[in-house]
């Protein structure tokens, strides 16, 4: 069997960094909508060299994905692509179907965002990789199988044999993405297009996949086009960056140039909008040096930071922690969990599932508590139980002074309690009734509770629209006429309509673009200060919690593993899990991210030894 890839870097011939693998000239993409051409990308020019990572950054609708899919002719038939795309000197646009097929998967491979849906659910991972291998090279089934196993090994799957036999749903999200990467590398492509490769993954898994991609880049010397909206991921991986907005590349440059000396207004705005961990909210004392905090907590020594500098940063961190006086909580707790366990009740033959165990948590009036954790950690479960949507299996849960642990489902007590609790949901598009004008959606809780009707109700709706900074005349619009950010504003207005004492916000900004997220968070923070409600803010994004929360609870596998004030958690994380979580969040700054990466590697090593 021929070696497709020399796994030992010493054997690899010296990469020719000079030659561009991909040259894109004047590439435009249009989509035919209602017999008109709507541009998705206009006159793009860029090139990628072997061993180089070019990040194309932009928000949704910027044309970053469409233009990259156009390289391989993978757009739907209502599209039009013009310009020139040269792969190692060979023109791809306008060649016949057979030629482009020979390029796909062999010369240019793609990694997609959501590995669960990007792999065919009815075939094993092995079968899908073998399919790719045998398509592009004349090898026997046995050779293809060996090849697939080696690829699965290359992407550091713990048990390649088992992964080979597994169906996609039998693997975890991270493993699936590794399998997807294995498949795309199986024919030793010259160019790899990674379309949001880590967006669907948890932050610690994301860090692992990013590590893997960095290792692979060093080993394989392919050119990589990385499409992403996440500045942290860009800082971690990219050599050069192209910033896209509304179909146009507004700025290109090296990673250092873009991050430290952005020229274009939009790049500056985008960088400013990225919430990054440690930055804090509007009124926090100052930026937290999370790297120093982690280094101090774990007594790590880093080669990327001089020792005296690290010591100074650790001292500053300790001083800031000492200075941070936690505000004394006042009044009766709004939400109080004592040894709470929450179960998803038994459904038919599916046994009850205990999602949360032994949770203790107190929220005082006016306090914002951030509940962070990865998927499956039970954070949303606590949020749901707090509004009585899930029964409490053990322990006591008090909401606005009432013990609802034993409350009957849909009973009177829960009904009463819910009048004091507002809830904002994750996906603003599906949490608003598409057939109700938004004014009615906002007014419905007040109408149902009987607090207002008629003219008074209308006045109150207008007030709420003012509060969330939406024009009053929007009240008669339907949800589909609003943008994502506007819809989430409506969601917030609805949650506020009964003047709740407690607000439960479940990932309210995770479906939004960064610049929109920044505005919604800003609004939320102002409203919280103005109206003084207490808030349980559920999120997977530590940076968002950092902006908003007074206290932070970290959840892992159904348990709250660590909780404390923002400063305690960020400046002095004690639990290994919290440390790993903090270290995994990529920083939108290449140098700081390098420090962080080293630290994370040390943490993981310490964890395994």
């Amino acid at each position: 069997m021929t070696d497709f890839i020399a796994l030992d870097p010493a054997v690899t011939p010296a990469p020719e960094r000079g030659e561009p693998v991909l040259e894109v000239r004047n590439l435009s993409v249009d989509f035919g909508v209602d017999k008109k051409w709507v541009p998705a990308a206009i006159g793009l020019n860029y090139e990628v060299r072997a061993g180089e990572v070019l990040a194309i950054v932009g928000e949704s609708g910027s044309g970053k994905s469409a233009s990259s899919m156009a390289l391989l002719g993978l757009l739907p038939s209502n599209s039009r692509v013009t310009g020139s795309v040269k792969l190692a000197g060979q023109e791809l646009l306008g060649t016949n179907e057979a030629n482009i097929r020979a390029v796909r998967g062999k010369e240019v491979a793609v990694i997609f965002q959501e590995p669960m849906t990007a792999l065919n659910p009815v075939y094993t991972v092995g079968a899908q990789i073998v399919e790719t291998v045998r398509l592009h090279s004349e090898v026997s089934p046995d050779e293809a199988r060996l090849r697939a196993l080696r690829m699965l090994e290359l992407v550091e799957l713990p048990d390649p044999e088992k992964a080979f036999r597994s169906y996609p749903h039998q693997l975890s999200g991270g493993q699936r993405q590794r399998a997807m990467i294995a498949q795309s590398l199986s024919c030793d492509p010259k160019l790899l297009i990674a379309d949001e490769p880590t967006t669907a993954l948890d932050v610690t898994v994301q860090a692992e996949i990013l590590d893997l991609m960095r290792n692979l880049r060093n080993k394989l010397d392919s050119a990589i086009v990385l499409i992403t909206h996440d500045m942290g991921v860009v800082a971690d991986l990219a050599d050069r960056i192209a910033v896209m907005r509304r179909g146009v590349i507004v700025e290109t440059g090296t990673a250092a140039e873009i991050f430290h000396n952005p020229q274009h207004e939009y790049t500056k705005a985008l960088l400013a909008a990225v919430p990054h961990l440690g930055q804090g909210g509007a009124d926090s004392a100052g930026e937290v040096d999370v790297t120093a905090a982690l280094a101090a907590a774990t007594k790590a020594e880093l080669s990327s930071i001089p020792e005296d500098q690290l010591l100074r940063r650790e001292r500053e961190n300790a001083a800031a922690l000492a200075a941070a006086a936690a505000a004394k909580p006042q009044g009766e707790p709004v939400l109080e969990l004592t040894d709470v366990a929450i179960e998803y009740p038994k459904q038919g033959r599916v046994p009850a599932f205990r999602a949360v165990e032994g949770a203790n948590l107190v929220i005082y009036p006016g306090q914002v508590v951030g509940l962070v954790g990865e998927s499956g950690s039970g954070k949303t479960t606590i949020g749901r139980a707090a509004v009585g949507l899930l029964p409490v299996a053990a322990g006591t849960m008090k909401v606005v002074g009432q013990d609802i642990s034993a409350a009957k489902r849909n009973g009177r007590q829960l009904h009463e309690m819910r009048r004091h609790v507002g809830m904002v949901f994750q996906d603003p598009s599906s949490s608003l009734n598409p057939r109700l004008p938004i004014g009615e959606s906002i007014g419905e809780p007040m109408f149902l509770a009987g607090v207002a009707k008629g003219v008074e109700l209308q006045k109150r709706i207008e007030e709420l629209l003012d509060q969330v900074e939406l024009p009053r005349n929007y009240r008669n619009r339907y949800p589909h006429e609003l943008s994502g950010g506007q819809k989430q504003r409506v969601g917030i207005a609805r949650a506020l309509s009964l003047k709740p004492k407690l607000m439960v916000a479940d990932e309210p900004t995770s479906a939004l673009d960064v610049s929109v997220q920044a505005k919604v968070l800003d609004l939320f923070q102002n409203l919280q200060k103005e109206l003084g409600f207490a808030c349980l803010f559920v999120t997977h994004d530590l940076a968002v919690v950092d902006v908003l929360a007074d206290r932070i609870c970290v959840m892992q596998r159904g348990r709250i593993v660590e909780q404390g004030t923002r400063d305690q958690i960020l400046r002095n994380p004690q639990e290994p899990y919290t440390q790993r979580l903090l270290a995994a969040v990529p920083l939108p700054d290449p140098e700081k991210q390098r420090e962080r990466r080293e630290l994370r590697a040390q943490l993981l090593e310490a964890g395994t030894s």
Partner: protein
């Protein structure tokens, strides 16, 4: 897996008991005296009538009749119908005919339904798609007996391509036209279901992945789209086999086929409880078994489906 199949077979017991009880009760509640009806226009001979009543247990209360019937099943002696023939022999005569008809109809609707649905889905909005969509609507809209008589008249009588009626042997050749009539309605559903399913899968991420690997369009369709699209279609087809067996009554009437439907219809009219219940019970069991088969096929088509016991 084995425990799952075993469990499913155990589930057949209550289904069997429930179905027989219900059907027996319905026949019992039919108005009119079946024995009196046997005499037709002739005057009723009371002595003969009461002897017949005793022979068929019609003088007993409902529960006794039902239990006696159950006993006859478990002793493998179903008794006789009113013309004195053993019911077991009647079943052995009519079921093969209808099974042949239903399976032919199923093959017809599955093959052409999936083929046309696949092509229509792949060519959404084109002429072929529009044509089969309108045609399938017409087929669904027209009652089966109208379609049956029309095809019988034009193809059977006018054009003479097929025999308008079926011989008592009911050979495969005889049954082609009736099978098409029987399967026509379901064919339209299978077509539409396949088309929708193909359309949905065509925009799936893994289909894009398959194209990005460099697979040809034909292979993308055959390997990646078709198998995923068949999952809902298979469910429908499985449930339809039972429906075709039981629903053949109209088609059998039109083409004069000596099958289950014809015999069942006569048995209901003459109030022959044991005959009706025997036929219906076999139909119910076929229905249950074909559903079990579908559920097993399901797991083969979609590995995400688990049979936990």
């Amino acid at each position: 897996m084995t425990t799952y199949i075993l469990k499913r077979f155990l589930q057949l017991i209550p289904v069997f008991l429930g179905a027989t009880l219900l059907v027996y009760f319905l026949v019992f509640s039919l108005p009119g005296d079946p024995i009196v009806a046997l005499f037709g226009d002739k005057p009723v001979n009371e002595a003969v009538a009461s002897q017949l009543r005793a022979q068929y247990h019609l003088d007993q209360p409902f529960w006794v009749q039902y239990l006696l019937y159950l006993k006859s099943i478990f002793t493998f002696d179903l008794g006789q119908d009113f013309s004195g023939r053993p019911i077991a022999a009647v079943l052995g005569e009519v079921f093969p005919v209808t099974a042949r008809l239903a399976i032919m109809a199923l093959i017809f609707e599955a093959f052409f339904g999936i083929l046309f649905g696949l092509i229509a889905g792949l060519r959404k909005g084109k002429l072929f798609d529009a044509t089969v969509l309108v045609a399938s609507l017409i087929v669904i809209g027209i009652p089966i007996f109208v379609l049956g008589f029309l095809l019988q008249y034009f193809i059977g009588v006018q054009l003479g391509w097929a025999k308008p009626t079926v011989s008592s042997a009911a050979t495969v050749q005889d049954l082609i036209l009736p099978a098409i009539v029987l399967g026509l309605g379901s064919f339209a559903y299978v077509l539409r279901l396949t088309r929708t399913s193909v359309l949905e899968n065509m925009s799936a991420d893994y289909v894009r992945t398959a194209s990005a690997k460099g697979l040809s369009r034909f292979k993308v369709v055959r390997v990646h789209i078709l198998r995923n699209s068949l999952i809902p279609v298979i469910t429908f087809l499985g449930a339809d086999l039972g429906a075709l067996m039981g629903g053949a009554i109209v088609t059998e009437g039109i083409f004069n086929i000596p099958g289950v439907g014809n015999r069942l219809y006569r048995a209901v009219l003459s109030g022959e409880g044991p005959t009706v219940v025997s036929i219906v019970t076999v139909l119910v069991l076929i229905y249950c078994l074909s559903n079990l088969l579908v559920d097993l096929l399901y797991a083969w088509l979609d590995p995400r489906i688990r049979y936990d016991s």
